[in-house]
């Protein structure tokens, strides 16, 4: 299917694919923002949640931050490669990013299983409810990003749709930024 003319026009000077990514990110900001605002005001009002928060694994969280930061690096390197027209290299970097996402989710799964074994399940208290909801929603975004990247990497390897590399990268950086705030909010704050 050929692209719609509307898609190829760019009256704002921003290509449509990137423009829609920005709008998606804006709408995601308010989704995460609403949840984070709800969590923050509860956390500030409930000092007793500290005892629950102390059970999160700061080292696992820190390692995951490192993983996401690194995957952001490979995502932006993929963008650079795509910008230079090197689809094969872009695909390679995208797959590295996917690998980073996979490691992130694996660590997350390890954390969740440990915590659930210790009895800290979703309904085990206000902090845990927010913890699983926040990390779960974020994890879903990681997963979605990985799936999208899988498709885009396959196209990029054939030097097709290279502009999408940058867009999925933007999305990935946004997910990274969300985690940058989740890390102190859930693991460090006391």
């Amino acid at each position: 299917m050929s692209k719609s003319i509307a898609n190829t026009r760019s009256a704002t000077g921003i290509p449509s694919a990137r423009l829609i990514t920005w709008w998606v990110i804006a709408s995601e900001i308010v989704i995460f923002g609403g949840l984070l605002a709800s969590y923050s005001m509860h956390r500030l009002g409930h000092p007793e949640w500290q005892s629950s928060a102390a059970h999160t694994n700061t080292w696992a969280g820190a390692f995951n931050t490192l993983v996401l930061l690194t995957s952001s690096l490979s995502a932006v390197l993929a963008h650079k490669a795509a910008d230079g027209g090197n689809g094969a290299q872009a695909a390679k970097y995208l797959r590295l990013t996917i690998l980073g996402g996979a490691i992130f989710l694996a660590v997350k799964a390890f954390e969740w299983t440990t915590e659930i074994r210790e009895g800290f399940t979703l309904p085990a208290g206000g902090f845990w409810s927010f913890y699983y909801t926040l990390t779960g929603l974020h994890g879903l975004h990681v997963l979605a990003g990985m799936l999208i990247m899988l498709v885009i990497a396959a196209d990029a390897a054939k030097n097709e749709e290279l502009q999408r590399v940058e867009c999925v990268g933007l999305y990935w950086h946004f997910v990274d930024i969300v985690w940058i705030f989740l890390f102190p909010l859930l693991y460090i704050a006391r």
Binding site: I14, I20, W23, G33, P123
Partner: protein
């Protein structure tokens, strides 16, 4: 995001059900919305009959028990806002008009557009299926305040409550996908020469509505996830006994809920602006004034939400802030209405059916607007909150929006959508029946509300002050009005269906309008424009001095306009 490439093989299925053409998707939204409108109207019929003739079998339904009554009012509210006003005003008109009016072939992302409708359709199925589950449909009112909505033990419809919530969230996702598409298309896809200030008002306001929707719905999506967990996974986000707070939901709901009013208002206002200009043969009185007041309203609407919660247990000092912001929002809206009225000055008004609807919109919306002042004034709201006064007030805003505004748009663009003219006589019968019926429904309700009738009550027998016969007469009168209003939709339905085949064939520009959609054949072919248009001026150049014609289409170059 699907990346499969579909070959353009136009079978029936591909053409009408799996199409990525914005016009087809618009029709899908339109027809789904119209069917849901019939459902919502039927629900209103049932509960108004119960209120007029308590505890008698309602023809076509049966006995209305308290539980059924709650489900009826809940679903009426939910359906009319999320499954009628949103799909028809934002999605159907947005899909149909944006690409045509900005002069391009389709949405920027046609497949995301199709996905949006598919999710919406799925949400419709989920919502309707909740009528069939054990316990029946959700009855905790469309605001779904927890703990009532969170615990099956309280609402007695655990399955219905969860299905309701899932349906609403899916609907939000559908409109988020649709909304980003609208915004990007209008921003990027404009024809050469078309500046942002050359956009027809309806496009501007649908885009603004989509932006508002995007910016406000997020917290409620998060809140809905939390509520769903409360319902199904035994969390305690809204359970005070477990560190949660039921007020949180109310805030998240109304942080979205109030902008949502303007999300559906703005497209209707836009439709009215376009219809008004065409049939008054007048340039809008201050295009930019309308635009700026719309922006001001949009921004302000994010800081007024707690006026829905004055007496909900929020800190009383906060109520003062929200009372002030609420009255401030009346300033841009008043300005906007004045500008609409002023647009008629110096016009040459043709009272066609679409114009009647547009004028009725202004006349009726004024009533809805001014009665809002009573409720925004915190001191008066203590008494009027959650009475029928509120119901009458917001129906005087929502009916002009979702009924009158929609009919203004439908009758105006029908020739373009289907290539046939509608019957004017039937259109006028429909108009007068609807308008008279509508006023007879809701004027009595202002009075019963002022007399203290509280909402969502299936029978006032236990409240001597409310069970007075004079109030009961008013309720009966209101129900009679509804019957008139509903019966008046029959000529419309007949007209709509009959004209599809037998209406007079519409030429490309039957209303002699300026905007780009009228420069292509009716109905527009796939791809819309044989040759992509270039735009030379704004959309409202009517009655320009020195021209033989009283209109001046946007795509006609300047040199051609010298008289032949």
């Amino acid at each position: 995001m699907s990346t499969q490439l579909h070959a353009a093989e136009p079978g029936i299925f591909r053409k009408y059900l799996w199409s990525t053409d914005h016009k087809i998707i618009s029709m899908q939204y339109l027809f789904t919305g119209m069917v849901m409108g019939l459902v919502g109207g039927y629900l209103a019929y049932v509960f108004r009959m119960q209120l007029a003739f308590p505890n008698r079998d309602v023809p076509g339904f049966g006995l209305v028990t308290p539980g059924k009554y709650n489900a009826l009012v809940t679903m009426h509210g939910t359906i009319m806002i999320f499954w009628v006003a949103m799909p028809v005003l934002v999605a159907a008109f947005g899909n149909f008009l944006i690409p045509l009016m900005i002069g391009c072939d389709d949405m920027a992302f046609p497949r995301i557009n199709r996905l949006s409708y598919q999710i919406f359709f799925f949400s419709t199925v989920v919502l309707l299926s909740s009528f069939l589950v054990k316990g029946g449909a959700f009855g905790g009112s469309w605001t779904a305040y927890p703990p009532l909505s969170a615990k099956g033990a309280y609402n007695l419809t655990p399955a219905g409550a969860s299905l309701w919530l899932i349906a609403v969230v899916l609907e939000f996702v559908a409109f988020l996908l649709g909304g980003v598409n609208f915004v990007v298309t209008a921003m990027n896809g404009r024809a050469p020469g078309m500046k942002m200030y050359d956009l027809p008002m309806v496009v501007w306001l649908i885009v603004l509505a989509s932006i508002m929707f995007m910016a406000s719905v997020g917290p409620l999506v998060a809140g809905a996830v939390m509520l769903l967990f409360d319902q199904t996974l035994a969390t305690g986000f809204y359970d005070p006994a477990r560190g949660g707070d039921p007020l949180l939901w109310q805030h998240l709901f109304w942080f979205f809920g109030h902008p949502e009013v303007y999300v559906v208002l703005l497209p209707a206002i836009g439709i009215v602006a376009d219809v008004l200009a065409v049939f008054a043969r007048k340039k809008l009185f201050g295009y930019r004034t309308i635009l700026y007041t719309a922006w001001a309203t949009a921004v302000l609407s994010f800081v007024v939400w707690a006026h829905h919660q004055f007496i909900a247990g929020i800190d009383p000092r906060m109520a003062n802030i929200f009372s002030i912001t609420t009255l401030i929002i009346s300033i841009p809206i008043a300005e906007m209405v004045f500008v609409y009225i002023a647009t008629l000055y110096g016009g040459s008004i043709r009272f066609t059916t679409p114009m009647l609807w547009a004028l009725a919109f202004i006349a009726e919306f004024l009533i809805g607007g001014v009665t809002g002042i009573f409720l925004g004034a915190s001191g008066a709201d203590i008494y009027l909150h959650d009475t029928y006064f509120v119901i009458a007030h917001f129906h005087y805003t929502f009916v002009p929006i979702a009924v009158i505004g929609t009919f203004a748009g439908l009758t105006f663009w029908y020739p373009k959508m289907f290539g046939r003219m509608m019957n004017e006589t039937l259109g006028k019968i429909h108009f007068w029946g609807t308008i008279v019926g509508f006023n007879v429904v809701f004027i009595p309700l202002f009075i019963t509300g002022a007399a203290g009738d509280q909402r969502r009550v299936y029978n006032y027998a236990l409240f001597p002050e409310q069970a007075r016969p004079e109030l009961q007469h008013l309720r009966t009168l209101s129900t009679i009005g509804l019957l008139v209003m509903l019966a008046s939709q029959l000529p419309f339905l007949f007209n709509f269906i009959w004209s599809l085949r037998h209406g007079e064939r519409a030429e490309a520009n039957p209303w002699r309008s300026n905007t780009l959609e009228w420069t292509v054949a009716s109905p527009p072919p796939h791809g819309n424009f044989a040759e992509m248009p270039t735009v030379y001026r704004g959309p409202y150049e009517y009655g320009t001095p020195g021209r033989s014609e009283d209109y001046w289409p946007q795509n006609v170059p300047d040199e051609v306009l010298q008289r032949p």
